[in-house]
């Protein structure tokens, strides 16, 4: 199964579930909900953190944090 950290720039996937309990609540509150589309918009010049598009706005998160979000790609 893929995580958000494994997406290519511009690739869209659907959030499936989370692997980190503490972080999942924060992510849920920020609108990263299971079933929601998530798009990897860009990667910082040094390779970390990542910028994603979620429920109509941009969110940044570190690679390690993106790895806790499992996604379904088509």
């Amino acid at each position: 199964m893929k995580t958000v950290a494994q997406l290519h720039i511009g690739e869209t996937a659907v959030i499936d579930k989370f692997t980190d309990n503490f972080l999942s609540l924060k992510l849920l509150e920020m609108g990263c909900l299971p079933g929601e589309k998530i798009k990897l918009k860009r990667i910082a010049p040094l390779g970390d953190p990542l910028m994603v598009s979620i429920s109509g706005y941009s969110l940044t998160l570190r690679k390690s944090e993106a790895e806790t979000i499992l996604v379904i790609t088509h």
Binding site: L23, L28, M30
Partner: protein, 656 residues
């Protein structure tokens, strides 16, 4: 009546607060933490149904931005405490929820949590101008119906809808008629994540009925285009460097004019005072203690104002979030945060505004480390010390025919400061313990034009905080230093000549010694002189004599005082005003060796000492204010002094 403003970060809460209260606001701290507590007063027209007619004054409190009532940051914790705890001193009678209408879904999450508390509240849909630009349609009355509270569309940037908001605030507002929590408890939700998902599901239903959104938001594409450049692998750094260059040009070049004027004005003031006041201890205290101390504070104001103007603009436009995004990986290696970049670089101008700017770092540990290492960055107060010493011990020659040696040494001192800052940060990364988890799940705001009124307010607030909070401590230390350099065991009264001795916080001219300093001999016999002589054995291994010892003590007021103190000491020994201080110091002979006292070894040892030592009482005062504990100021003073002593010791022992 108390009204609280609550909402997500970047929802424009503070702009609405500024529009409601204007300049009738004051900034304090929430007890125990350094989160700004902004309280203001607002006049509301009285409810027409309840005479007497007229206006009532209400207190408005701007709560720190939060994403939910399950607190994860200090900001969220404070907001939670105030709106959930009925016994809290700031518990509001009415909560105004501010939501960014262009991103209603996420904003409604926090909003519905507040609505569910069942207390009177109003929802403000902010940024309606952008909603129109993005062709989003929001049915306000349907939203009001579904949420069970009044909904007020507002555009804080365009200043529309504020009067309507005031009118609604002055009417009787009843508690909300709906509650999502009540609806949720009927179904089977037991864990917080499940509740969150269920709440978002409800919000999606509400949005579906009240909001019509085009597929690709307009502001997003504009922001995207800018980000293609601003966060580009190559151009991103070029833009960043260009912005830095601009900031430094302003802070060093433009701020220098008002600073020179302030120094000039204070010199005029003290000259005038000493001519008017009768000679005696009191006038000496006023001129050399209080006025000198005051000038040492006020002279920083232009730099603080310029730096905060830039920081406010970078913050307001959304560029600061990009800087964090670009540098987070690099800074994390050193126990810092992407948000530490700007404060660290600002430290090269002055540590005081730089330390004040660390408030944007949310994580406690990362903020403390940033504060601890900022004073190692070479600030502008070191420049007079460096230039004097370099001109004495480094020949004005060209290295390889092109590089000016003096310039190279100055640059090396800057590099050493930066390396020391980064290195110390790495050490503190392992020493400081924190239970708080560092995360970078952060909203990336869209680019917006800065709001000049709020930039002005930020400058006003920061200058005020510096003048009155840090100023108190600086004045106190100035008076102590004045007493130490004015009194001695053998001279119970200070020299009656007001320009007699003592420290001057004005950096004296490097070229000629200030005339009229006559009574400096008493400096040697003052407590400062005695301390200078008594610490001589301790500083002798660094190559310093007791005269440098006095300068080390007096320049605790500010580093550049070193130059002034040296001027005082040497003009006393050799009153010949035709020889410059620099030449007098160069000619100084070490009585033990018979050679020149200011050898290369002593010069470099002294420069390194000033590069590392925390010779700045304003920094200590501001660190105390920002951390709320003397222990941080003490730790910083001790580690930097130790670093300075060791570095000077090594350099002197190797080079001599």
């Amino acid at each position: 009546m108390k009204i609280a403003l609550a909402g997500n970060p970047n929802s424009g809460k503070t702009t609405i607060f500024n529009l409601l209260t204007g300049l009738n606001q004051k900034v304090a701290n929430f007890p125990g933490v350094t989160v700004d507590k902004k309280i203001g007063k607002c006049l509301l027209a009285n409810n027409m149904e309840h005479p007497p007619f007229g206006r009532t004054e209400v207190d408005i409190i701007d709560l720190p931005g939060a994403y939910s009532l399950n607190p994860k940051t200090i900001d969220e914790q404070i907001t939670h405490q105030i709106i959930c705890d009925t016994k809290n001193a700031d518990y509001p009678d009415l909560t105004v929820i501010v939501a960014d209408a262009t991103n209603l879904k996420r904003n409604l999450f926090f909003a519905t949590q507040i609505i569910d508390l069942g207390k009177p509240c109003v929802l403000v849909l902010n940024m309606m101008d952008e909603v129109e630009n993005q062709k989003i349609e929001i049915n306000g009355s349907a939203l009001s119906e579904m949420l069970g509270i009044a909904v007020v569309p507002v555009s804080a940037r365009k200043n529309t809808g504020i009067e309507n908001l005031k009118k609604i605030l002055s009417s009787n507002i009843s508690p909300p008629t709906k509650s999502i929590t009540r609806e949720l408890t009927n179904s089977t939700t037991n864990s917080q994540p499940e509740e969150t998902i269920a709440r978002y599901k409800k919000i999606s239903e509400i949005i579906k009925q009240c909001v019509q959104q085009p597929t690709e938001p307009v502001a997003e594409t504009f922001t995207n285009k800018l980000d293609n450049i601003f966060t580009h692998k190559f151009f991103g750094f070029i833009v960043f460097l260009a912005i830095l260059f601009l900031i430094f040009q302003c802070v060093f070049t433009f701020a220098a004019y008002p600073m020179k004027f302030i120094e000039w004005a204070f010199v005029q003031c003290s000259v005038w005072l000493s001519s008017v006041l009768p000679t005696g201890i009191l006038s000496d205290l006023i001129v050399n203690g209080i006025v000198a101390g005051l000038s040492g504070i006020v002279v920083f104001v232009p730099q603080i104002a310029f730096l905060f103007a830039f920081i406010a603009i970078l913050e307001d436009t959304g560029y600061m979030a990009r800087v964090s995004f670009m540098f987070d990986k690099l800074m994390r290696k050193f126990g810092l945060n992407g948000r530490s970049v700007i404060p660290l670089i600002s430290g090269a101008a002055c540590a005081i505004p730089a330390i004040m700017a660390t408030r944007t770092i949310g994580n406690w540990k990362e903020r403390m480390i940033t504060i601890l290492v900022i004073p190692l960055m070479s600030c502008s107060a070191r420049i007079p010390v460096y230039t004097l010493l370099i001109s004495m011990v480094v020949p004005d020659d060209k290295l390889f025919g092109i590089f000016n040696e003096q310039g190279l040494v100055l640059m090396a001192l800057y590099v050493i400061g930066f390396v020391a800052a980064i290195g110390s940060a790495m050490v503190f990364k392992y020493l400081l313990k924190s239970k708080e988890r560092s995360f970078f799940v952060m909203e990336m705001p869209v680019y917006r034009s800065p709001r000049w009124a709020s930039v002005g307010l930020i400058i006003y607030e920061k200058v005020k905080v510096f003048l009155f909070e840090a100023g108190k401590i600086i004045i106190a230390v100035s008076i102590i230093l004045w007493a130490l350099s004015s009194f001695g065991p053998n001279s119970p009264t200070p020299d009656p000549s007001p320009k007699g001795r003592g420290i001057s916080t004005q950096p004296s001219s490097l070229i000629s010694s200030p005339s009229g300093r006559s009574g400096g001999a008493s400096l040697e016999n003052s407590y400062a002189g005695i301390i200078g002589k008594s610490i001589e054995p301790a500083i002798a291994p660094l190559g310093f004599d007791w005269k440098i010892g006095i300068a080390l003590i007096t320049s605790f007021a500010a580093r550049e005082v070193f130059v002034g103190t040296m001027a005082t000491i040497y003009s006393v020994e050799n009153p010949d005003n035709s020889i410059s201080i620099r030449e007098k110091m160069i000619n100084e002979i070490n009585p033990k060796t018979g050679e020149k006292l200011y050898s290369r070894a002593v010069g470099f040892s002294l420069m390194l000492f000033y590069a590392f030592a925390l010779q700045c009482m304003s920094t200590i005062a501001i660190v105390y204010r920002e951390t709320k504990h003397w222990k941080w100021a003490a730790l910083q003073f001790v580690y930097m002094s130790a670093l300075a002593y060791c570095a000077s010791f090594l350099v002197y022992q190797i080079m001599k």
